[in-house]
């Protein structure tokens, strides 16, 4: 019997649109999406322009010389009110930043890397189910909380340990920043370590290597580019960290290597300057844009280097 098939619903309703209109609207949509992507580039350009434009008001002032800014070892923008007596030498702030960041990295790098090794090589599922969420919570805690923690617990702890520590000191801020960067190092390094194929690990086991041999002589070297870029990203994050140092590192710009003293950092200075009653438009006020430019150049360089290392030296396994 010759039974006719019913016409499918989709064809009965005949709601097809011409391909031409779809292609035209496609072009409009792509243009819109591309504008958004261009917007992110424009954002970078705006940041650079803003920093150059505002810090030009600082560097072009007759009271500021570039040599003094780059090599001077006294920074008195907040202490001295007479503009011709103020000294603008970036080194106290830069050394403060480096002290805090150095201490932070002493904590974040080894702890983050070892935790990453543990997570990717040793951890059982049960431990992982505790450790991973804890690290995620730690990563989600606002930075101002770490600053409070440094003042509340770390600094008194250090003073109990040795009374020579100031109430506000580089070490307590550094430890807090280190804890803050720990989850970042750990998650990025773990991503890199778990991207190393299992076959490499199995090769080491077949040669009689222990897990430690595997981790230290094969897995970490194979993932080195990812590990280093994680470390650099954490470094640049620590350089730019603001609220912790504003609370815990003190307000005195000191040029020293002593981690027990107060140490105002570049970001700490920016916050202090905005808190002070100096008017928008004075040379001292504009000095914060000079500091911000220096900070931006350093962090941008670090991030760029981290990205390039990750891209160029990444070992790709099939």
């Amino acid at each position: 019997m010759n039974r006719r098939l019913p016409i499918p619903n989709a064809l009965q309703s005949k709601r097809y649109r011409a391909t031409g209109s779809a292609r035209r609207s496609e072009r409009v949509v792509v243009a819109l999406l591309m504008t958004c992507a261009l917007g992110t580039v424009a954002l970078s350009v705006l940041i650079v322009l803003m920093l150059l434009w505002e810090s030009w008001s600082f560097f072009s002032s007759e009271h500021v010389s570039m040599t003094q800014f780059l090599f001077g070892i006294r920074w008195t923008a907040l202490e001295v009110r007479e503009v011709d007596k103020v000294e603008f030498g970036i080194w106290p702030l830069l050394s403060g930043t480096l002290r805090v960041t150095g201490i932070a990295m002493l904590i974040a790098w080894p702890m983050g890397l070892i935790t990453a090794i543990y997570l990717s090589e040793f951890a059982s599922n049960r431990v992982r189910r505790i450790l991973k969420p804890s690290l995620e919570i730690l990563a989600g805690i606002p930075t101002v909380v770490f600053g409070y923690f440094a003042v509340l617990l770390i600094s008194p702890g250090l003073q109990w340990f040795s009374p020579s520590f100031d109430t506000f000191n580089a070490t307590s801020a550094g430890i807090a920043v280190g804890i803050l960067c720990l989850p970042l190092v750990c998650s990025l390094a773990e991503d890199a370590l778990s991207a190393v194929p299992t076959s490499l690990r199995e090769a080491v086991y077949s040669l009689g290597g222990t897990r430690m041999n595997t981790a230290l002589s094969v897995v970490v070297p194979s993932a080195l580019s990812g590990v280093i870029s994680a470390m650099l990203l954490a470094f640049s994050r620590a350089l730019g960290e603001t609220m912790v140092v504003a609370l815990a590192a003190g307000t005195l710009a000191t040029f020293t290597l002593d981690p027990r003293q107060q140490s105002q950092t570049m970001t700490g200075f920016i916050v202090e300057m905005l808190k002070s009653d100096l008017e928008y438009g004075t040379v001292q006020y504009y000095s914060l844009f000079g500091v911000a430019l220096a900070l931006f150049v350093i962090t941008f360089g670090m991030t760029l280097l981290g990205q390039l290392i990750r891209r160029r030296y990444r070992e790709v396994y099939q």
Binding site: V41, M50, L131, G140, Y148, T267, L274
Partner: protein, 404 residues
């Protein structure tokens, strides 16, 4: 017969087993070290939460959640304005940054070009977003200060506490009078006048405080006083002087923005834009390409595929990323501090877009920086509220992620 390999010729079983034992022991120690370090990060988290809970729980009560900052009496101080401020700020921030961020991610993931130059552009955008994520948030704050608060001083210099600029819409100016019954307030519209005060002589169009039009009655003190209380309510004494006041609608808009809610929200949305883009890209990348190919095989264009197949499939992931980014925005203090300043004396949440605003991290920062011990305890209590809010948001995000 082949030679015995050298390694086997001088093979000493006892030495070899001793070496193996040593390796095994080292392995155990290493494993223990790893475990100890891993556990110590959990311990740090625990210590942090416990010490803050210990400091803060005593001041955490309903008054704390409903009152505002009190500069004299820490026992009466609360954080209500900052909760409202943070939530409104976060919503505004989501409205501005999510569409742009997701669109940029879609462009980067779904419309990968074949053209050589466009490919370069693609790589540049990608590298640029990674770099933007590494820019310190305080620098974004300075960008917001220059771009939104002062607008490169195109509209004249903005002094502290004094607004100069161009009003666009959402503001109404009135002269305020006290009615003869000494209870009601009568508002007389400013009209074209720019005078700071008005001496009333003749009846004018007028409104009560709820901006309902009323029939203004001007009473000459030389004539007898009206006795009807209903009339008294809309009567002013002839020759009274009223001062100009401004009433803002929520959509009040002016340029430059000044240290306002809108400026802070836009600045924060710049801070989280790279995070939104990266998270959305990851979510889109996780959609299997077979879905896209199936859609393309049905004759769909790339945008039709994205709109109807890829985006719905990636939506839980995009939402997760969005919520995590919002959590970041709520906790971010530095850019908001740069834009709004550290003033926490506001008694209510922001009332219009150009209103000043207090957020939770700013309040915590100001209290933690206060030398008075009681304010520091309040800071701990505020941290408990903030962290609890973040935990709720993040667990919702993790729940969404689990559903994919």
């Amino acid at each position: 017969m082949s030679e015995i390999p050298k390694a086997l010729q001088d093979f000493k079983p006892t030495e070899a087993s001793a070496r193996t034992e040593l390796q095994k022991r080292r392995d155990r120690w290493f494993r223990f070290l790893c475990l100890a370090v891993g556990c110590s990060s959990v311990a740090i988290l625990f210590l942090l939460l416990v010490s803050i809970a210990y400091q803060g729980t005593s001041s955490l009560n309903s008054n704390f959640l409903s009152a505002s900052h009190d500069p004299e009496n820490p026992a009466q101080a609360g954080m209500y304005p900052s909760i409202v401020g943070s939530v409104i700020l976060c919503v505004l921030c989501a409205i501005t940054s999510l569409p742009i961020g997701v669109a940029a991610a879609i462009y980067l993931e779904e419309f990968q070009p074949r053209n050589r130059w466009l490919k370069r552009f693609h790589g540049l955008v990608q590298l640029n977003i990674a770099n933007l994520a590494g820019v310190p948030s305080v620098v974004y704050g300075l960008l917001g200060l220059t771009l939104f608060v002062y607008m490169f001083q195109l509209f004249g210099k903005l002094e502290q506490n004094q607004v100069s600029g161009v009003d666009f819409w959402g503001v109404q100016r009135y002269y305020q009078f006290v009615a003869v019954d000494d209870l009601s307030v009568i508002m007389v519209p400013l009209g074209e006048s720019r005078e700071p005060t008005l001496k009333i002589q003749t009846p004018r169009p007028a409104f009560d405080t709820l901006l309902v039009p009323i029939d203004l009655h001007v009473w000459d003190p030389a004539t007898p006083r009206p006795s009807d209380p209903e009339v008294l309510r809309r009567t002013v004494r002839k020759g009274d002087v009223g001062a100009a006041v401004e009433i803002y609608s929520w959509y009040y808009f002016r340029l430059p923005f000044g240290p306002s809610l809108l400026a802070a929200a836009l600045t924060l949305s710049l801070v989280i834009l790279p995070i939104v883009v990266i998270a959305s890209q990851e979510a889109l990348r996780a959609v299997p390409s077979s879905l896209r190919e199936a859609s393309a095989g049905m004759g769909a264009t790339r945008w039709q595929t994205t709109q109807q197949v890829t985006l719905p499939a990636a939506l839980p992931g995009v939402m997760t990323g969005a919520i995590l980014a919002m959590g970041r925005a709520i906790g971010e203090a530095a850019p908001v501090f740069v834009v709004l300043g550290g003033n926490i004396a506001k008694r209510s949440g922001p009332e219009h877009l150009m209103d000043s605003c207090v957020t939770m991290p700013i309040l915590i920062f100001a209290w933690a920086d206060n030398p008075v011990e009681q304010y520091r305890q309040l800071a701990a209590a505020a941290i408990i509220v903030l962290v609890a809010l973040l935990l709720v948001m993040n667990s919702f995000a993790i729940y969404l992620r689990g559903r994919t």
